[in-house]
């Protein structure tokens, strides 16, 4: 099957405009008889469901939490990008497009990314109109801050809770459509299969997580907005329930998986404290504006951080990357931290951490503050106290979170941080219209692979999720469904629904009947360890080859020895988790296969075989300028399809931050 990305022809900046003015439309009367299934109600899903409901489609939305307001998007901290140029610092649609393409290490599509930049400004307008309380200046206008990988201030934010505020905005819009009867919301439901009729996605099988009953739902089209799969690593900054199940079921029904190995490891997270650890907590990228990262110059230096004098500290990012210093992109900062810890310079009891130190920022702000207040003091304590107040206003909620988790006061002693799995750039392959390789099946938000190439810049996932849901799918869905207006709703006693439900039922029964001795949690941890050690921050052919075999063996063990307690027809979180871990055990193998195949380093994917003499990532445009789209053939058998990336406007060059 040849991949067709359906990028419209024409100039880069006219592609989307032309598409919008020439795509097919569905008239209001016909929309009322078209049913749409939206799986997932995070930013991508809630915005899509609300908008499609407003347009008159009949929408059914699903999420596994008890309310759409709890999707993982709620946890996003730092902000959302938009090319508004409110700060008059030279921003433009083109610049946002360019930064995103470059940040992604030239592995994303120009056409998609330009569209994203074009609609970014509309997102902010829409959110403000909904009542999203973004941070403002004293003049009443919107405030911005800067994020890594850019030279302008284009990030809109609501303290350290931007995702929460954006999601609540979308959720309110969704609930409004629920009250109007345009959207039917199914919370505590998990989609477990796509129903295919005549080669098209026409519905889903979902499990009611409260009763355990399976349900059949018809839709003319199915939208997967089910988030990322970082939890394949067990430990990540994702919420506990984040999973790949929906995307994986789609993959097995014929949807190609794009760039599965592209994983973002975020440099500043609270380190692992012991085997009991269930998840990792992010400390926002915005902290790197003011925090300095260092380790002791001497190996195994066990003194307290505050007892180590200035000249015995190694500010290794400032040393290695003088031009960008602490603000190098995420992939670079993460690898540098790993390098220092592996070399024996790590700090804390585990020695797998580095310091993020605010002392000099506190002092700097303290001096400015003293000056502002007309205090002619040189008393260090007074200055530090003033400075702490400033830092508190900027990052208070993050510092509090750190203190609660670690029991340490980051105003007094430096934070300990270490990189952690954070985001997956890979996902279901989609064309320009966000349709997967399965007709009528779409993927939006983090669940698709589309716009971030091999490395996502900060504050751009929220932008993409909302772009997909509010501004892209309403057009592209109509363009396709215009051909479907005469398709009547398919009754759910159709053989395809019956067969799909039976498959799901059989699988659940199989899981329950293994009655082995090892818990689901234990298998998940073991998978996570393989993935982290061999398909994590640095990868090589030997490790990946081993990992593939280890995962296969682990999967076999899982299917013969997992213990799932409880019953099927009841609220049973262990069973929910078992199904998710079973899918991770298949995805993990594909990620390793993809990582093995891509023998170059790009963005978050670092192959040890492909580095410069100085240990920097080395891209190989000659051989790897393509999207890897994997087709599922059978267990452990995947066929690679390549979508060539044609750069018409930007000229890919080496990323240097020295």
């Amino acid at each position: 099957m040849a991949l067709n990305s359906k990028i419209p022809s024409g100039q880069l900046d006219s592609k989307w405009k032309t598409y919008k003015s020439t795509c097919k439309l569905v008239n209001p009367a016909n929309k009322r008889s078209l049913e749409i299934i939206v799986v997932g109600t995070g930013l991508a899903g809630a915005s899509a469901a609300a908008t499609l409901g407003e347009m008159g489609y009949k929408v059914k939305a699903f999420c596994f939490q008890d309310s759409p307001r709890r999707a993982h998007s709620i946890a996003a901290q730092g902000g959302i990008n938009a090319a508004k140029n409110y700060q008059n610092d030279g921003d433009s649609t083109y610049r946002l497009f360019y930064d995103t393409i470059k940040g992604g290490d030239y592995r994303a599509r120009e056409g998609n990314v330009h569209r994203l930049a074009e609609v970014s400004a509309n997102i902010i307008d829409q959110c403000v109109a909904q009542g999203v309380p973004f941070a403002r200046e004293y003049g009443g206008l919107l405030s911005n801050r800067s994020f890594g990988g850019t030279q302008v201030q284009r990030t809109f934010y609501a303290a350290g809770q931007t995702g929460q505020q954006l999601l609540i905005g979308a959720y309110q819009g969704l609930e409004r459509q629920v009250s109007l009867g345009n959207v039917e919301m199914h919370s505590r439901h998990e989609m477990l299969e796509i129903v295919m009729v005549d080669g098209k996605a026409r519905g889903i099988i979902a499990r009611n997580l409260v009763t355990g009953e399976l349900e059949r739902h018809f839709g003319h089209a199915v939208l997967l907005c089910t988030g990322g799969y970082g939890n394949v690593f067990y430990l990540s900054t994702n919420a506990m329930g984040s999973n790949v199940t929906a995307a994986w079921k789609a993959h097995k029904q014929g949807a190609f998986f794009g760039n599965p190995c592209y994983t973002q490891i975020h440099p500043t997270c609270i380190p692992v404290s012991g085997d009991h650890q269930s998840k990792l907590t992010l400390m926002s990228e915005s902290l790197r504006n003011d925090g300095r990262i260092w380790v002791p110059k001497a190996k195994g230096d066990n003194r307290k951080a505050t007892d180590i004098p200035e000249e015995e500290r190694d500010y290794y990012l400032e040393r290695r990357y003088p031009a960008f210093g602490n603000l190098v992109p995420r992939d670079v900062a993460s690898r540098a931290a790993k390098e220092r810890c592996d070399a024996g310079f790590g700090v804390g009891s585990s020695k797998m951490a580095v310091y993020l130190d605010f002392a000099s920022a506190i002092e700097r702000y303290g001096k400015v503050e003293a000056h502002k207040q007309g205090l002619h003091t040189t008393d260090k304590n007074t200055i530090m106290a003033l400075g702490r107040d400033v830092v508190k206003e900027k990052y208070g909620n993050l510092f509090d979170m750190y203190a609660k988790i670690t029991g340490e006061n980051p105003y007094e002693i430096p934070m300990r941080i270490y990189p952690a799995v954070h985001y997956t750039m890979g996902g279901l392959w989609v064309d320009y219209e966000l349709m997967t390789t399965v007709p009528n099946l779409y993927a939006l938000g983090e669940a698709n692979f589309s716009d971030h190439g091999a490395n996502r810049l900060g504050a751009s996932a929220l932008m993409q999720g909302l772009a997909d849901g509010y501004f892209v799918i309403p057009y592209t869905l109509g363009n396709n469904l215009a051909n479907d207006i005469s398709t009547k709703a398919i009754p759910t006693d159709h053989p395809a629904f019956v067969a799909a439900e039976k498959d799901v039922n059989d699988r659940i029964n199989r899981l329950m009947n293994i009655k082995g001795t090892e818990s689901v949690e234990s298998f998940h941890k073991r998978l996570g360890k393989i993935m982290w050690d061999k398909c994590g921050m640095a990868r090589n052919a030997k490790g990946l080859t081993e990992a593939i075999e280890e995962i296969k063996a682990l999967r076999k063990e899982f299917w013969s020895n997992v213990r799932v307690p409880g019953d099927i027809k009841e609220f049973n979180p262990e069973l929910d988790k078992a199904g998710r871990v079973a899918d991770f055990l298949e995805l993990g193998e594909l990620m390793c296969i993809d990582a093995l195949n891509r023998n170059e380093s790009c963005g978050g994917h670092f192959r040890e075989e492909s580095q410069t003499e100085e240990g920097e990532a080395q891209r190989d445009d000659e051989h790897f300028m393509f999207v890897s789209a994997w087709e599922y053939k059978a267990d452990s058998q995947f066929e690679l399809h390549k979508e060539a990336l044609d750069y018409e406007v930007v000229h890919p060059s080496a990323r240097s931050y020295k």
């Binding site: 307001r69 307008d125 309380p133 809770q161 919420a239």
Partner: protein
């Protein structure tokens, strides 16, 4: 920070489903590290139960960062446990010492029926929001964001109200099981913004009406909600909601 391990006794509410009668069960856990979170301690207990071929305890959780509002345990008589402005998932075991007994219950309120063990049904909150907790603006209707300056102080107050995570601790903490703090936070968030102005009256009236329909108790100004709210939502919001509601009733607005 000095780390230590501890052995604990847990008395946890077990209830098979909504129809079954529940009761406390006693469990022992050992080797709990002071560095664990409260939910990680429950993970340890559940792993132990699975190993013993018993049924683990069902509890709600997702983000484990204090932001999704999913976790909901009533710990030793307090919603979300002893730490000020802290969700269950952010409570850490260094609060406890070796030999302690901890009693854990679900949120108790007629409007939040138990689904299983510590898991309750909070969908009433969604229905209250659906009754009016929004601004009616369709996608594509918006003007340029900076066409509408908002006084910074009001924007900040609106944000403070909007940080409510919808966890329901306020209801669980209230002897009357009133949902006024939750509803007032939503109403304040929108009423403080110029965008929320056109629907201000109908919003307050409709949301209060839905709250009453859901069988939440009435507010008698006890203040337990504010004391236990993990996000520090202020009682001032309730005062504002009362003003909004009375204002709407006097001006004769009943419904949207």
């Amino acid at each position: 920070m000095e780390h230590y391990n501890m052995n604990l006794t847990l008395k946890v509410w077990k209830q098979k489903n909504n129809k079954a009668k529940g009761a406390f069960e006693t469990y022992k856990v050992s080797g709990i590290s002071s560095e664990m979170s409260f939910l990680e301690m429950f993970d340890v207990l559940n792993e132990q139960l699975v190993a013993e071929n018993k049924e683990p305890i069902a509890f709600d959780h997702d983000c484990r960062e204090g932001i999704c509002g999913m976790c909901s345990m009533y710990i030793n008589g307090r919603a979300h446990g002893p730490w000020h402005q802290t969700t269950t998932c952010q409570l850490h075991m260094r609060e406890y010492k070796d030999g302690d007994t901890i009693v854990v219950e679900p949120w108790r309120a007629n409007s939040f029926p138990v689904i299983k063990d510590l898991v309750v049904d909070r969908s009433a909150f969604d229905r209250i929001v659906a009754a009016g907790g929004y601004i009616s603006v369709n996608t594509g209707n918006a003007q340029d964001a900076n066409c509408l300056p908002v006084d910074k102080q009001r924007a900040d107050e609106s944000f403070a109200a909007a940080t409510c995570i919808g966890c329901g601790a306020c209801v669980a903490a209230c002897p009357n099981t009133s949902a006024m703090l939750f509803v007032s936070a939503k109403v304040s968030h929108l009423a403080l913004l110029p965008q929320g102005e056109p629907e201000r009256k109908s919003r307050a009236v409709n949301m209060i009406h839905q709250m009453d329909t859901e069988d939440f108790g009435s507010c008698t100004n006890i203040g337990a909600c504010e004391a236990e709210c993990p996000k520090g939502i202020s009682l001032e919001n309730i005062a504002r909601l009362n003003r909004e509601y009375l204002g709407a009733m006097f001006s004769g607005s009943k419904e949207a």
